[in-house]
């Protein structure tokens, strides 16, 4: 019995050191709008480098609160520029690691075909019961949606029809399950391989809202993690940009 037991312990030891030598691991907090392309990016990064990527997706505001309270993320891929900036100011993010990895596009989307017209005139007609947006206090895409409605002078008219998702992922789910007939989401959520996956959309003109520049930052926990720094480098490659472009992001 004893030799076998020792062998098992030795084997476990070998496995643990070999995995720590050859492949690192990095934990990344991802804004919900970037979740779909991020999964594809993580997969090809893992194939290329052998490093493991652990993803958590949610609202940027929630991640900020969690990071402030010691959440063990190495990288934040935010949906805005303010949050990474604030983390850097508070010394929770590493200086000179901040950069804009992508610029998002806001769309008005319905899961129904031919429901949203290509000029967004349905908003003026208000021929629907629920318009879903992400909570503007928490999610930059929600804020952009409110800016759009405000530029179009539609807030008073549509106020009673607004329903809020906690993040852009939940907003998408409200519309996808047809509980809300339409709503504002990120182009990346309804777009893959360069085309619309389902339903009908109006791509909101960029002039109607503040640009959705999305910044990444290396966090304190990831400072000496080579898997984390090499992922940030990978995000800047043409290969990564091609994937993001396929999901409708601009640069």
């Amino acid at each position: 019995m004893m030799p076998r037991f020792h062998f098992i312990i030795f084997a476990c030891f070998l496995i643990s050191i070999s995995s720590s030598i050859h492949a690192g691991e990095t934990r990344i907090a991802v804004a919900a709008n970037f979740s779909a392309p991020m999964q594809r990016l993580a997969r090809s990064f893992q194939e290329e480098t052998g490093n493991q990527v652990k993803l958590s997706s949610g609202s940027t505001g929630k991640f900020y609160a969690q990071i402030q309270n010691g959440a063990p993320f190495d990288i934040l891929l935010a949906a805005d520029q303010e949050t990474p900036q604030r983390l850097e100011n508070e010394k929770l993010g590493i200086e000179n690691t901040r950069f804009t990895y992508a610029t998002g596009t806001l769309v008005l989307w319905s899961a129904r075909n031919d429901f949203v017209d290509s000029r967004g005139e349905i908003l003026q007609k208000a021929s629907f019961n629920h318009l879903a947006i992400a909570d503007p206090k928490l999610a930059p895409y929600g804020l952009a949606a409110m800016q759009t409605l405000s530029t179009l002078n539609l807030i008073d008219k549509l106020k009673t029809k607004l329903v809020q998702g906690e993040n852009i992922g939940q907003t998408f789910q409200f519309i996808a399950t047809a509980n809300a007939e339409l709503g504002f989401v990120a182009l990346s959520q309804v777009y893959a391989d360069g085309k619309l996956t389902m339903g009908s959309i109006w791509i909101v003109p960029q002039a109607l809202y503040q640009p959705l520049h999305q910044d990444a930052i290396l966090l304190k926990a990831g400072k000496d993690n080579s898997a984390a720094t090499s992922f940030l480098a990978f995000l800047k490659t043409e290969k990564a940009k091609k994937v993001m472009h396929d999901y409708g992001y601009q640069f």
């Binding site: 505001g61 809020q164 399950t177």
Partner: protein, 230 residues
């Protein structure tokens, strides 16, 4: 003072929460009494599966309930088709939808104290009532119900407070509409996410005190009830 307990948003959330808990309790009590009576007296083979079905919300993650409700109540869901045919529109993102969710979610909390009370009565009181020529309904109203009083009170208090603490279901089917579907627990969550910690503290502290008071009252009541019975 917008950063205290009494901001309009918080007051509205408290009001919606109390309304939701009261209505849920009023709807659930008669349902729970009927089901608990049936469960504690029947010998039907359906007893076990129905008992399991009723207890499900106790063990299921609220997200499961919320997810199915969202699909059911949506315009393409079976329930959504019925409510639309009745001209009521869809129940998602409405106060009525939250009531439906809360009734399902708090069902085991409403039934179990009453069921235990009925079962501890045994068959004797009803038999005695019958020999005194009380009709079954009469005996039920004037013998069984008063004797199960502590179970009824526990059930009402548990249902009310459990509904006040409801979070996952509301988050999934509510849509966070002030005055309609924005309740205390989701309001606290939003305050925390938006880094409005002062507001979150006020509401969370109030919830803590309230919950303690409820449980304290409950245990006092149970002790009194135990003393009366023995």
């Amino acid at each position: 003072m917008t950063d205290t307990l009494l901001s309009t948003g918080n007051l509205l959330a408290i009001w919606v929460t109390l309304k939701l808990a009261s209505i849920t309790t009023l709807i659930l009590l008669p349902i729970a009494i009927a089901l608990a009576w049936w469960l504690s007296n029947t010998r039907s083979i359906l007893r076990a599966p129905i008992n399991a079905l009723i207890t499900l919300p106790l063990v299921l993650p609220p997200t499961v309930l919320g997810f199915y409700l969202l699909l059911l109540m949506g315009p393409n869901g079976p329930l959504g088709e019925v409510t639309q045919a009745l001209g009521l529109g869809s129940l998602s993102f409405t106060f009525s939808g939250l009531v439906l969710g809360s009734v399902l979610y708090s069902l085991p909390f409403a039934i179990q104290p009453i069921q235990i009370a009925f079962e501890s009565l045994g068959s004797r009181p009803m038999e005695v009532a019958a020999t005194l020529r009380a009709k079954p309904l009469d005996a039920f109203m004037n013998v069984a119900l008063p004797m199960a009083r502590s179970g009824l009170i526990s059930s009402a208090i548990l249902t009310f407070s459990h509904t006040i603490g409801e979070f996952g279901v509301v988050l999934m089917i509510g849509g966070n509409i002030p005055g309609q579907t924005q309740v205390l627990s989701t309001q606290i969550y939003n305050h925390v996410e938006a880094m409005e910690y002062t507001q979150a503290h006020w509401l969370a502290g109030a919830m803590l005190i309230f919950s303690f008071a409820v449980l304290f009252t409950l245990s006092l009541l149970n002790r009194r009830a135990a003393r009366i019975i023995h």
